[in-house]
């Protein structure tokens, strides 16, 4: 071993597996908050609260996972909220045929939206922000047209609502099961498959990836389709868990998803990211709503809706500043 290698190895030692650190940070925050909440509120750790909380947040976790992939390529997908709405509307129309039909249909809606996004981004060379902004408007318009501006009644006679409201083994709500499956799928995709590596490489340096012979466009198609598909699945949950296709739901969900990804420590510039910390980030952000509701229930103070948004912003500020400190201290040497 020559001197050069030796020294390089030493200096390289400073940054070992960034992403696991990333997850640790969020996990600790999550545990502290949970501990605080379980001590303060009686029913916080009740089965009912845990299950309904996770079940509701499954929709956000799903689009967060998709968003994580998109962001790791250095892109963004603003259309997810609208795609959720569109999928829920389409699925509501398909609900009489049962979940066996509705589920694939909903995912297909998302796949199509994602494919269009990818086409506009890769072939027409329109930046992701604008391309998906257009899809955000387009999918929302489509949802309104297909629903005649109103919530679409789902069929309560078929097994459709079982997916959103039923439980596996009478214990775990199906949305949670679906979310966990999607999580494991995404994790394996990122960590174990070449696809995941390509996603990270493109985010790290798109031009270099191209010059190194990666089929960048193919990978981008995969990523936007994945994001769309997860949004589609989320739409199925929305329709079957709330009994209606909702053309106006999902406003601002894209921002929650982005926030979840970033709170999880993933870089918006792409190239670095973690599926696990995105999951934890989404849960962390969802928890703040849950906690605010419980706090109001204590009867000591009753926050107005306005204070709630101030508190949410403040919470985000604290989390993000802490993350930034952790990340900046880790990356300082590569700054210049």
């Amino acid at each position: 071993m020559n001197i050069l290698s030796m020294m390089s190895n030493l200096s390289g030692m400073k940054r070992k597996r960034n992403t696991s650190k990333q997850a640790e940070g969020v996990l600790v925050a999550l545990m502290l908050i949970t501990l605080f909440a379980s001590l303060r509120y009686d029913a916080f750790l009740s089965e009912y609260n845990i299950m309904t909380f996770l079940s509701y947040n499954s929709m956000f976790i799903l689009i967060g996972l998709g968003m994580c992939f998109v962001i790791m390529t250095g892109g963004i997908d603003l259309s997810v909220g609208s795609v959720v709405a569109l999928s829920s509307v389409v699925v509501a129309h398909a609900s009489p045929y049962g979940i066996e039909v509705a589920l694939p249909v909903g995912i297909l809606v998302g796949v199509l939206a994602g494919a269009i996004n990818a086409f506009v981004i890769t072939k027409l060379k329109i930046v992701p922000f604008i391309a998906t902004l257009a899809m955000m408007l387009g999918a929302r318009g489509m949802a309104l047209v297909l629903s005649d501006n109103q919530s679409v009644q789902v069929s309560w006679d078929s097994n459709f609502t079982q997916f959103g409201l039923g439980k596996m083994f009478d214990f775990i709500p199906w949305p949670i099961v679906a979310m966990l499956v999607a999580f494991v799928f995404c994790w394996i995709l990122l960590e174990k498959f070449a696809f995941g590596r390509h996603v990270l490489s493109i985010g790290g340096n798109e031009e270099a990836s191209k010059l190194m012979g990666l089929e960048v466009n193919k990978t981008l198609f995969g990523v936007y389709i994945l994001s769309g598909a997860l949004a589609g699945l989320s739409g199925v949950m929305l329709a079957s868990g709330f009994g209606a296709g909702q053309p106006l739901e999902g406003l601002g969900w894209e921002l929650s998803a982005i926030a979840a990804v970033v709170v999880g420590g993933t870089l918006l510039t792409g190239g670095l990211g973690s599926i696990t910390s995105t999951l934890l980030g989404a849960i962390l952000l969802g928890l703040i709503f849950n906690i605010l509701n419980f706090e109001n229930g204590l009867g000591t103070i009753s926050f107005s809706a306005y204070w709630q948004s101030v508190i949410r912003g403040g919470f985000l500020l604290v989390v993000v500043v802490i993350q930034a400190k952790v990340i900046n201290s880790k990356m300082r040497r590569t700054e210049f």
Binding site: Y41, D42, A43, F44, S46, Y48, N49, T52, F53, Y56, M59, L144, N149, Q150, S151, V152, Q153, V154, W156, G164, L165, L238, G241, F242, G243, A244, Q246, P247, L248, E249, L251, F289, N290, N293, F294, N296, G297, G299, S302, S304, A305, Y306, Q308, S309
Partner: protein, 299 residues
């Protein structure tokens, strides 16, 4: 098979507001908060910020906290069904407030106790009839709709349009959503006035949009109340003032002050009474004749 409500001195009451972005909702929330003090409630208040899904989740967290009853203004008719059904399954009686849910799936007296609220269709019809009487059945109308898909928007349009349809000399030139908001109402009116400069009536689904329309008219050099007659619903202070200033013709009241009614209805239910499926709120009509008298109690 409705869950019963035991008689207690003090109740833990959930109020799951849908959003707080307009004066009407704010007045409604205030009414519940005030009532909490007078009616001996521990109020659990949540705000869904305009998301039906979050509202369901808010109801869930109330159930988890073990509230005795829930007052729920469902944001939309259908997506809130699961919240109603779940509360019932967990033994918590639900009172719907100001908007209802789809009757095909959930019924008053079976799934929820009752619906407290106005008749939006009737509000639209009252506004229409006042207009017909005032103009002698003639007019070219621009309609500013409320939030797309919400039941007040749907019903106020239905009530109004059905009455107007009976008069061949009245015509609704255009109908567009102003989202129940002043600014949006102004912008929509500005745009519509260009296409339909001949319009002489504006019907707004709420007072906020009506005020926006007045501003648009003034900016365009038209005289509201004279060139263009304005009809609306709600009965806010600004609207009553506009009536007094001669800028607006009528506003049909849609009272947000549900607190006292909620307290009373709940007590009746706890006493074992069977509650009628729709506890109606009677709405007044404000015109130049009575506006001065009521402006101080308006919100």
């Amino acid at each position: 098979d409705l869950p019963a409500l035991e008689k207690k001195d003090r109740y833990k009451v959930g109020f799951a507001q849908t959003e707080s972005n307009n004066p009407w909702r704010i007045a409604e929330t205030k009414s519940f908060k005030d009532t909490a003090a007078s009616c001996n409630w521990d109020l659990v208040y949540t705000d869904a910020a305009g998301s039906a899904a979050k509202q369901v989740s808010d109801v869930d967290s109330m159930i988890a906290q073990g509230v005795d009853v829930i007052f729920l203004p469902p944001r939309e008719e259908r997506p809130l069904l699961p919240a109603v059904l779940r509360a019932k399954a967990q033994g918590v009686p639900v009172f719907l407030v100001d908007r209802s849910v789809d009757e095909k799936v959930a019924k008053a007296g079976r799934d929820y106790v009752t619906f407290l609220g106005s008749n939006f269709i009737e509000q639209g019809a009252i506004a229409a009839n006042w207009l017909i009487e005032k103009t002698g059945g003639k007019g070219l109308i621009l309609e500013l709709e409320g939030t797309t898909g919400s039941s007040p928007a749907n019903d106020r349009r239905k009530g109004f349009d059905d009455e107007i349809a009976k008069h061949p000399d009245m015509k609704i030139l255009a109908s567009q959503s102003g989202d129940f908001a002043r600014d949006k109402g102004r912008k929509v009116t500005e745009t519509l006035l260009q296409t339909y400069p001949n319009a002489d009536v504006i019907y707004a689904h709420n007072d906020e949009m009506a005020i926006g329309a007045i501003q648009a008219l003034e900016a365009a050099g038209r005289v509201p109340g004279k060139d263009v007659l304005i009809v609306s619903v709600d009965g806010t202070r600004d609207a009553l003032q506009a009536i007094l200033d001669g800028k607006m013709g009528v506003t049909v009241e849609s009272s947000p002050f549900f607190g006292p009614l909620a307290c009373e209805t709940m007590k009746r239910y706890a006493n074992g009474e069977t509650i009628e499926p729709w506890v109606r709120v009677t709405d007044r009509v404000f015109t130049i004749e009575n506006a001065a008298k009521h402006i101080d109690e308006a919100y």
